[in-house]
């Protein structure tokens, strides 16, 4: 059972008190050293004297003066606490999480190790070469000390040798969109759902040929991402004109239904040469839609919407293989999509495709 570490109450109070918190906790003024570090691996009470707020992984002391091993430490607050986003397995609060749930080999509660990102996995990242020989940890993706203006404190680096070199993923908060930013958190206030719920997160498309989000994922999953025409992706800028078919599913540089009248916009069941192409008509016909990028910020009626990684996958994972979102288009939306765990991959494909 994961336990609440020292600082948990403080974090809880901060969440309630209402300053800028949403991926930008653990950064700047909300980077609280004592949330994670202990100077002497011996703490009997909190900074307010409360002895019930102190729990350690008993197998320390740990490098970098951490209170516990990285994953254990993060999950002390981020698994079942109720006051911080629950990122592991099922959600103890009732909203549909944008990122879904992580899994690990020892805690399979429906979130198997083939259903998204797996803590402690030593596997090489699909499509890439990177792995953590000591096991995947939260801080392989998230900067523990935060990065100003970086969505969810996801890593970026000025170091050209770093796999996250210039992987900026900017965002705006509290319903104030800026189309030059990559992510827009629509939700206002400081509730967890407002900040971390799937309905509260939208994706801009500052550069119509690129996806900062996909580029970020490509830090590890290198071959999965790129612009049209890249060797790993195939296709062409603006989509497949017929002579340069995609080699991998695009994550940028092609709008749903682009090349209308040629091969990219076909009605459901349409025949001819465009059967493998997407249809904006089909996409917009669904009540429940997967998330897409929009250059104009119109995710409802926009004709400039582009799929990216998050359209199909939960970043952390869910109860479906590959963390896929089986979204048929109607019904109650869950983290697995409105088709849930009984759905199929085709439900997801048919969000845009016509076959």
């Amino acid at each position: 059972m994961r336990k609440i570490a020292a600082g948990g109450l403080f974090l809880f109070l901060l969440c309630l008190s209402g300053s800028a918190i949403a991926g930008d906790y653990h950064v700047n003024g909300y980077l609280i050293c004592s949330d994670c570090h202990t100077m002497h691996y011996s703490q009997r009470h909190s900074y307010s004297g409360d002895p019930t707020q102190v729990v350690y992984d008993p197998t320390g002391p740990f490098p970098k003066l951490l209170k516990a091993d990285v994953n254990y430490l993060c999950l002390a607050c981020h698994d079942g606490s109720g006051f911080a986003p629950d990122v592991f397995g099922s959600n103890t609060t009732s909203y549909v999480r944008q990122a879904g749930g992580l899994n690990d080999p020892t805690h399979d509660t429906g979130y198997g190790t083939y259903k998204g990102h797996t803590l402690s996995a030593t596997d090489t990242a699909p499509g890439g070469t990177w792995n953590n020989p000591n096991g995947l940890t939260c801080i392989d993706c998230h900067a523990p000390h935060g990065i100003t203006e970086q969505f969810r404190n996801l890593w970026t680096s000025d170091d050209s040798s770093d796999k996250f070199h210039n992987k900026h993923l900017t965002y705006m908060l509290d319903g104030q969109n800026d189309l030059t930013k990559d992510v827009f958190i629509v939700g206002t206030g400081f509730g967890l759902e407002s900040r971390y719920g799937a309905k509260s997160v939208k994706f801009n498309e500052p550069d119509p040929q690129k996806s900062a989000y996909a580029s970020w994922c490509g830090s590890c999953h290198e071959n999965f991402h790129g612009s049209g025409g890249d060797a790993s992706m195939g296709g062409a800028h603006g989509g497949d004109s017929g002579s340069t078919p995609w080699l991998r599913h695009p994550v940028a540089d092609v709008n749903i239904g682009q090349n209308l009248g040629s091969k990219s916009d076909q009605p459901m069941g349409g025949g001819g040469g465009g059967e493998d192409k997407s249809s904006l008509t089909v996409y917009q016909s669904h009540t429940n839609r997967v998330q897409v990028m929009s250059q104009s910020g119109d995710w409802t009626n926009g004709t400039d919407v582009t799929p990216s990684c998050f359209s199909c996958h939960k970043a952390h994972g869910n109860k479906n293989s590959f963390g896929l979102i089986f979204m048929r288009g109607t019904g109650t939306v869950t983290e697995e999509g409105d088709a849930g765990t009984t759905g199929a991959m085709v439900d997801l494909c048919r969000q845009c495709h016509v076959q």
């Binding site: 950064v27 700047n28 003024g29 909300y30 980077l31 609280i32 050293c33 004592s34 100077m39 002497h40 691996y41 011996s42 703490q43 009997r44 009470h45 909190s46 900074y47 307010s48 004297g49 320390g60 002391p61 740990f62 490098p63 970098k64 003066l65 000390h145 935060g146």
Partner: protein, 365 residues
């Protein structure tokens, strides 16, 4: 309120003003006055000169006491060291007009605004964090301070330099090679420090309580670059908090060492490593107008109120226990000195948050 025996007070005052070596070494040598603490028959109706004030005749209730003491140890010590103006006031708040170097002890259940989780707690039977020591009868002053202030011949400090008087009469500690003491020097009017000592008092003989016990006038030296006499002493009880670099207690590898398991209290010069480690430039220590205390092997601590800037900070400053904690405690959790670096540092620092203390040296956040 119990008070000091006048004769002793007068004697102490005379000694202070006369200029003998005083500061922590009262209750030592010629200034060890038996009748300060002992009574032969648990019955005093007057002092050695016939004076009958209660400050001379007061005895603890419930006696007679072991060792012919006038009272239980804590009560006895606090007769003079709580609420007095001629001696350091060490319990709870004080009104002597200076920021105490050691801060304030507290008692079980708290005293004044000093809660029993804000430093050392008189009467506590808890086991020392990081160690095994506990006083089943309750922590008392004599667990740390040598009541007779003795510095035996042949005793050295951590660096191997002879110790002729123990700083604050703190007890010996054993570093595995025998008894050690914390050495100190009392300078005259801020003259250059004796760099072979562990501690330096800036203003020597003929001075006030503030000169001897104010945090502004106590400096930490570093006679051995890989050791800390203060930390070695604290290790007596807080065993696992301190140790040699690379050891099981604190970890640390390489040169300069990094990958600590517990926060270093010796051998880690501020800013020796880049990246996410400590920083002595403007973003870190060099940017602070007011700094907590660090050990210096060269006696250069800068001037409080003046920032070093990006390049001015010495490269040999090392944090130790007293950089972050008050020896006795204060009004903050763990006796931490919560200092932002932007305002003069009081006994508690200048804020109620711990993070600014980290940011004295670290830059994250």
């Amino acid at each position: 309120m119990n008070k000091l025996l006048l004769v002793i007070g007068i004697l102490a005052l005379v000694v202070f003003t006369a200029g003998a070596s005083l500061a922590g070494d009262y209750h030592s040598g010629e200034f060890l006055i038996c009748s300060d603490c002992h009574t032969m028959h648990y019955s005093r109706s007057h002092d050695m000169s016939g004076a009958t004030g209660t400050e001379f005749t007061e005895l603890g209730t419930g006696g007679p006491f072991h060792y012919l003491l006038k009272a239980d140890p804590n009560d006895l010590c606090l007769m003079c060291h709580d609420g007095g103006t001629d001696e350091p006031d060490v319990l709870g708040a004080h009104a002597n007009g200076y920021d105490r170097s050691a801060g304030a002890l507290n008692e079980v259940g708290g005293v004044d605004t000093y809660q029993d989780w804000m430093g050392h707690t008189l009467g506590s039977t808890a086991t020392a964090p990081g160690g095994t020591f506990a006083n089943v009868d309750g922590l008392n002053c004599l667990n740390c301070h040598h009541q007779h202030g003795y510095a035996g011949s042949g005793t050295t400090d951590m660096a191997g330099n002879p110790v002729t008087s123990l700083y604050r009469n703190l007890k010996y500690y054993n570093d595995g090679t025998g008894n050690k003491g914390i050495s100190y020097t009392i300078d005259v009017n801020d003259t250059p420090a004796d760099l072979t000592k562990d501690v330096r008092e800036r203003y020597g003989p003929g001075s006030t309580l503030s000169d001897h016990y104010s945090q502004d006038n106590i400096d930490l030296l570093e006679p051995a670059p890989t050791k800390s006499g203060i930390a070695g002493w604290c290790k007596n009880c807080h065993t696992s908090f301190h140790g040699a670099t690379g050891g099981a207690e604190v970890g640390g590898t390489g040169s300069p060492p990094e990958e600590w398991l517990r926060h270093p209290q010796a051998e880690a010069n501020i800013g020796a490593l880049g990246g996410g480690h400590s920083n002595k430039g403007s973003r870190g220590l060099g940017g602070k107008l007011y700094r907590v205390r660090f050990m210096s092997p060269t006696g250069v601590w800068g001037t409080q109120g003046t920032a070093w800037g990006d390049t001015g900070a010495p490269a040999d400053l090392t944090p130790t226990c007293l950089s972050c904690h008050k020896g006795h405690g204060n009004g903050r959790a763990f006796g931490l000195i919560c200092a932002t670096g932007t305002a003069p540092i009081g006994e508690d620092g200048d804020t109620d948050q711990a993070k600014p203390l980290c940011k004295q040296c670290h830059t994250q956040g």
